[in-house]
Symmetry: C2
Subunit: 200 residues, 2 copies
Amino acid sequence: MSRPLPEPVINLINELRKLSGVGEKTAMRYVLNLMKRSPEGVRALGETLYRLAEDVKPCSVCGFVSDGDLCDFCSDPARDGHQICVVEGVAVVLALEKVGDFQGLYHVLGGAISALRGITPKKLRIGEIVQRVSDGDVREVILATGADAEGETTALYVRKMLEGLPVKVTRPATGIPMGSSIEFLDAVTLMRALRGRKEL
Amino acid sequence: MSRPLPEPVINLINELRKLSGVGEKTAMRYVLNLMKRSPEGVRALGETLYRLAEDVKPCSVCGFVSDGDLCDFCSDPARDGHQICVVEGVAVVLALEKVGDFQGLYHVLGGAISALRGITPKKLRIGEIVQRVSDGDVREVILATGADAEGETTALYVRKMLEGLPVKVTRPATGIPMGSSIEFLDAVTLMRALRGRKEL
């Protein structure tokens, strides 16, 4: 960062740059933006960050974000505990909830197995899902990890871990996404879509 | 925001969305990113925000950001007080400093005159630059406001306000930016570049 900026500004820029996708220019833009506000406005943002650090932690059962011991899903008696949808991260839960179709519970792994990035199965909440299935009355585990190499590997690994347990293990369908032209699809998607064809 | 997220998360998302260019998705991405850090890491960002709110305010002379009464420029005896470069905002100062060519002082107006956005001359630090010129030994004022309609208006207005004072008022050259093809330039830039042509 250039010399003339006072230290508190440089410190804030450096902290903001730790956010994914935020470079020097974006960080600077945010800081200039913040400086246009009243000190109270800036402090309000600081305060919400403290609240996040203090009050929010993963749900002790499913790993979704929560400000108590259990998240809103796990503490909701209306959700169907017979079905557990296993996902890589919190963002996937939010995407699925926007659809609103799934009424079961979730299990957030905290990532996908990746040799490249050093994410071994032990770093993910895989033991916990096996435990949940062993303990409870779970009838189906939907492995909604990504349709990329890492997500596939993770799904296969979790399926293997669940072997022998009286539970149905499924995976969402792969195929042509709605609204897309077939000519622009990648070969793997197209191959899978063709192999998985259904009678009209 | 969707229902299952705990309140501290939603509050933080709402605060982050107040930053220019940050929508719901970006805010959510930042929050998920923050939640992957330790509470200490999140608090560190909060702390830098507090420091910004407490310690950083505009330089009492030029309006640039400062953590004291005077900014690094105004308190630097090596800078040439005979030249003042008038700019719309702090970001312009940083851009000019990256060039490193200008050795004078700055004057940050805090925006440009805009009837559309209700920014009257009184809302800008125009009286202050007139005062600086009246008080001190200023020989040249460079009006480096934007080359758009608002910047031009502001430059003309400041020039008018400085009329009668023994100071040279200049404006950076407009023309074809380096590295650009002439065919894609807008008509006004091209017209100005032609009218301002120089002998080779």
